[in-house]
Symmetry: C2
């Protein structure tokens, strides 16, 4: 049954090959001082940096560079971003990059006017924002996290080895996001498929929960079918605009609150994967792919009806003369085959995890209660062992 | 391929059994003078009127009644609404009802400060809004039109027998909409199924167009499957909250711009159905159901691949050892069976159309060019004859 909820998503999206043309009119709504957030410099190689800077200059903006955002943005980097914003009286934060840049920009945006320690306030105590928020915009160069149209921001504390996400409210969502599928063409294949699996798993996390009949689950199945279909094309030809555009659009709708409406959600793959990420600094999507199948095979008996539906509706498994368990297992086998074809990392050993690290990863895993089984500590350890 | 587009939907939705509780906080954002728009008085019988008025009074609002909005709101009624708004310096228009009330409220909202004749400006010349727009909110009592989260407003000119819709921009979308599935329980069954078919046809209009691979089409299939499933439950038990809530939520997403993104759309069933409505004043959903199958069977050869996909994905037609035509036909037959089971009107004779009226209905039909076949005048006549 659809539960009670509210829905508000104020982010404006510009999608397509000419979408960067809309940056000027959006920037005109904000003040002069722009904090330009980006990562390791790939946007300088592919020319996107030059295009964005030209638009900023044409609009007489003062640019304050905030480069070097890492794949798993750290508390240390966050504090650097806060300092840049405070010292320069920043009016607007423009993130040019993937989910890490966008997450980081949002984490800075809620921290500039925060009197407390942001890590403690937002990521340990999960408190709400009660200060002024600096507006954020995003030029997306990688499809995956959905960060361009939601209030989420994951930050990693390297010292305590904790990687934690906070989902902020609609006042923290980007004011606008520019989605040009061509900007994702130069991404290395490994990053592309990691992003694709991140998208797919976002949908799984919201789908594998609840016993009700819910429109959101139908939409989830649609998004899964679209991403599976387009991923097979994109992995053969990364410059297939149609496939990359479907992937980019699906990424946005996989995690902009829509498919979680009226239902419970799981998020345990992300919790385990994030803890793996905190201990290895591995690519986010690969930490998810490496622990997914052991997790789903473990919880399958507790949500058998949904895994059966998943097999039939998403993977087209023929259900004639089979038990529910057989159908559900065949669905997960089809998923595994697809994951292997994409070239995803299928175990945590490849990410640098060894036996000695497992207890620490369990310690860093936040246990959620929305899925088909609330895991015990020893069950997380068991799933990690099966993922080795 | 996903074309270029922008997406912005600023409407805030409150969904669920307690959603009316949010009316107070939303109203606090606007001025004192409220134009209260409603229809024929059913909201007085089922108690919704009293609840809304109590909230308005508790918020010290001045209520200016604008009752009697008919199922197909007329130009004459629109002018009355404009007069009420102008004479009372209205700050906010609150529509309590179904799509007609919500459409009408939006049509008034863009006309109060319009120096031109609104019918001529918006519905004959299709011009943009260039005046102040009075903000609108909606308490929905019927699921169907999706008007609660879009900029559309259909108005009927009884004298010239024209029923025309204008899709306004995001500044005309309701500021908020309150969706309580229980508010739809007392709706007569005929109105409920007409609404269900309106929803389904909104999806068809956006689905049956384009040759590309598009995420929007996957989402359309999901919404169709959800509405078919829930409609079968609701028609047997109209007070099944789960089914009615899925129908209500699906209605919103069937026509709030999402599933049209990046693709072409058709809308010819609505164009023919609206002209039938202008000549008969029949229930909107029934004008659509009465002309749909003759139209879709007529255009099927021009979009065979999509009708085949529709049959397989939406209706679960087995495609083994069949031609594409057979598969597509079986899909439309399954759709017809479902429509008959719901009790929809399947021909325009039952709506009061006779042979002598056909030429006039053709004259009032706006010909669109986004579908699989741009119809000639004689083809519309042919489809109408097949619908008799």
């Amino acid at each position: 049954m659809l539960g009670s909820f509210s829905y508000k998503n104020p982010t404006t999206l510009y999608f397509g090959e000419d979408s960067l043309n809309y940056l000027s009119s959006e920037l005109s709504k904000y003040g002069k001082n722009i904090q330009l957030v980006y990562g390791g410099g790939s946007i300088k190689k592919n020319g996107i940096y030059d295009k964005v800077v030209a638009i900023l200059k044409a609009n007489n903006k003062e640019i304050f560079e905030d480069a070097g955002v890492m794949p798993n943005p750290t508390v240390k980097k966050l504090n650097e971003g806060i300092r840049i914003a405070r010292e320069n009286n920043i009016d607007f934060i423009l993130a040019v990059g993937g989910g890490s840049c966008c997450d980081y920009a949002k984490a800075v945006s809620v921290s500039v006017y925060c009197d407390d320690d942001p890590w403690e306030k937002y990521y340990i105590r999960f408190e709400d924002v009660d200060c002024k928020v600096v507006p954020v915009g995003c030029v997306l160069t990688m499809a995956g996290t959905g960060s361009e149209m939601n209030g989420g921001a994951v930050i990693t504390n390297s010292e305590s080895k904790l990687k934690i996400g906070h989902v902020f409210g609609d006042n923290v969502m980007p004011k606008f996001a520019i989605l040009n599928p061509e900007f994702t063409f130069t991404l290395p294949k490994k990053q592309m498929v990691a992003g694709i699996y991140d998208i797919f798993n976002h949908i799984c996390e919201q789908y594998f929960s609840g016993e009700d009949d819910n429109t959101s689950d139908y939409i989830s199945e649609a998004l899964m079918k679209s991403i599976i279909h387009s991923s097979k094309i994109a992995v053969l030809n990364p410059e297939d605009y149609e496939a990359r555009s479907n992937i980019m659009w699906t990424a946005t709708w996989a995690l902009n609150t829509l498919i979680a409406k009226g239902k419970s959600t799981d998020w345990m793959v992300h919790m385990i994967g994030q803890s793996v990420g905190a201990h290895t600094n591995a690519t986010h999507g690969m930490t998810l792919s490496a622990v997914s199948l052991p997790y789903y095979r473990y919880i399958m008996p507790y949500g058998l009806h949904k895994f059966k539906r998943f097999a039939i509706e998403v993977w087209g498994i023929n259900d004639a003369n089979k038990t529910d368990e057989q159908i559900a297992q065949e669905g997960l086998s089809a998923m595994e085959l697809w994951m292997r074809e994409l070239g995803l990392t299928m175990n945590i050993s490849e990410l640098g995890v060894n036996n000695d690290m497992l207890e620490g990863i369990v310690d860093g895993t936040i246990i959620m209660d929305g899925g088909y089984k609330v895991l015990e500590r020893n069950e997380i350890l068991e799933i990690l062992k099966l993922s080795l």
